[in-house]
Amino acid sequence: MSTTETERTPPREPEAPRGVSRRGDTIFAGLAKGSGLFIMLALAGVALFLVLQSLPAIGASGENAYGADNIVLYIWPLLFGTVLAAIIALVIATPLAIGVALVISVYAPRRIARLLGYLIDLLAAVPSVVYGLWGRETLQSWVFPIYQWLADNLGWIPLFAGPVTTGRTILTAGIVLAVMALPIITALCREVFAQTPTMHKEAALALGATRWEMIKMAVFPYSRSGVTSAILLGLGRALGETMAVALVLSASGVITINLISSQNPSTIAASIALNYANASGIKTNVLIAGGLVLFVVTFAVNFLGRWLAARGQAKG
């Protein structure tokens, strides 16, 4: 508490009276600052524990690395699956989210727009394990005939090569992840679209633009970086999601872009959740190393997203 007395008092802040209650002020300020420091410590702890506990995994191989020759070969297919599932999720969620955000911020009358916003927020409130259960029990049986159709008719596309024996594939996992990423992307896009200055929208309309032309002229150019950042933050969510994938996917840990066969890549998070109960010794460290990689990747994606958002705000 003694080090940053001067730092803590910026020049233009209203100065509180001194004297009588110095002690109360010191204690309270100390508590506040202590909480801040505690958070920093906790985060440093997270990073430190992950790194320290990952170190023993470096030499792991064979049985310890879940059959892989070394830790890289163990994590790489999982990372592939993680990214693949997240990309499927984004490919599905992004157009939907932009459309829904447009409905809420441009198309719908105000009262309906508020209701719709609330409904989309509800979508975010449903716990991920419930989505996972739904994907495992319900969605997989809905998509199964569609996958069969895809394999029969579009099987020449490597993505849909099949053979289709189950609805529990990486594509289904991606769809469930899309449902979970959708409300985040929608909420952020909505905010960005709503911030388009009225004067530019009216300028377009006054020139005789239709609604869509107005969106193209005034709304989209203004929100490009905001939408990109929304997509990145949605990606961050999809990368780190565990339960939906763990419940939906019947994984075998292969690397493939065949989205609808029973041979599916797994994801880092799902593999940790599914293997932790039986892990011990070096195996635990191998799983933690996977967690560290996941942490670094999601951090990079989130960081990029926030940086873009901040830059967009500074410019706009």
Binding site: P109, P197, M199, A203, A206, G208
Partner: protein, 259 residues
């Protein structure tokens, strides 16, 4: 052909709130008509009903009749997009599109209708419109630069160029000079004088000297009483308004501001 506008028994609402009540007037073709009055009395609201920009605001609606050259603007068969194409508008704050160059800003309206324009055709529209807005000499060497890089007065003239590039019949201006310095203001006033020979112009202004300088006819708006809707108090030729108005309220407002 520049159009005349007949406004009869117009009531204008924002949701349930009646903002302006019972407006009757005729805006003559090829003349400058000024709307004056204290702020909040509904000048902008009336102006925006003349090109159906009012309904852009959620919940806003209009009762009564606005007839442009024999066609009723609020007839169900009338397309608001076509109306706005014919009746251009310049706003209080200059609003060039921030991501477009000067060149593209001028052509923004034209590009909506003609997807593919020939290069020289586009060039000539840009030059004609910028000359029409008295901006050509100042920007002809930097047409590819963003429109936001111009000064406030230049931006406003760019917006006028953008509005006249689509060759509308009527030009509506909502306090076009209120965000500008005196020199830019006088440039725009000169421009209004020139545009008058081709366009019907309606201008809202809070500056009475400006109304006296640029307009042929003037409408004075005021609130009936505090908390009541705005109304058109008097509509007369500008000379009569500023020398010998019919209504004592007009006289009081004008002399109060001048004296």
């Amino acid at each position: 052909m520049a159009k005349s506008i007949d406004i009869s028994d117009v009531n204008i609402y924002y949701g349930d709130f009646l903002a302006v009540q019972g407006v009757n007037m005729t805006v003559k073709a090829r003349q400058v008509t000024a709307f004056i009055g204290p702020s909040g009395c509904g000048k902008s609201t009336v102006l925006r009903t003349l090109n159906r920009m009012h309904e852009v605001i959620p919940g806003a609606r209009v009762e009564g009749k606005v007839v442009v050259d024999g066609q009723s603007l609020y007839d169900p068969s009338v397309d608001p997009v076509a109306v706005r194409r014919q009746i251009g508008m310049v706003f209080q704050r200059p609003n060039p599109f921030p991501t477009m160059s000067i060149y593209d800003n001028v052509l923004a309206g034209n590009k909506l209708n003609a997807k593919k324009m020939k290069k020289d055709e586009a060039d000539s529209i840009v030059e004609k419109s910028l000359k029409g807005a008295n901006l050509w000499n100042e920007v002809k060497d930097r047409l590819a630069k963003p429109g936001m890089g111009l000064s406030g007065g230049q931006q406003q003239r760019l917006c006028i160029a953008r509005a006249i590039a689509v060759e509308p019949q009527v030009l509506l201006m909502d306090e076009p000079c209120s965000a500008l310095d005196p020199i830019s203001t006088s440039a725009i006033e000169d421009l209004i004088h020139e545009l008058k020979s081709d366009y019907t112009i309606v201008i809202v202004t809070h500056n009475m000297q400006q109304a006296a300088r640029v307009s042929d006819e003037t409408g004075f708006f005021n609130l009936k009483a505090t908390g009541e809707p705005g109304q058109l108090v008097e509509f007369n030729s500008t000379t009569k308004m500023f020398s010998n108005p019919d209504e004592p309220a007009t006289e009081a407002y004008i002399s109060g501001r001048f004296g």
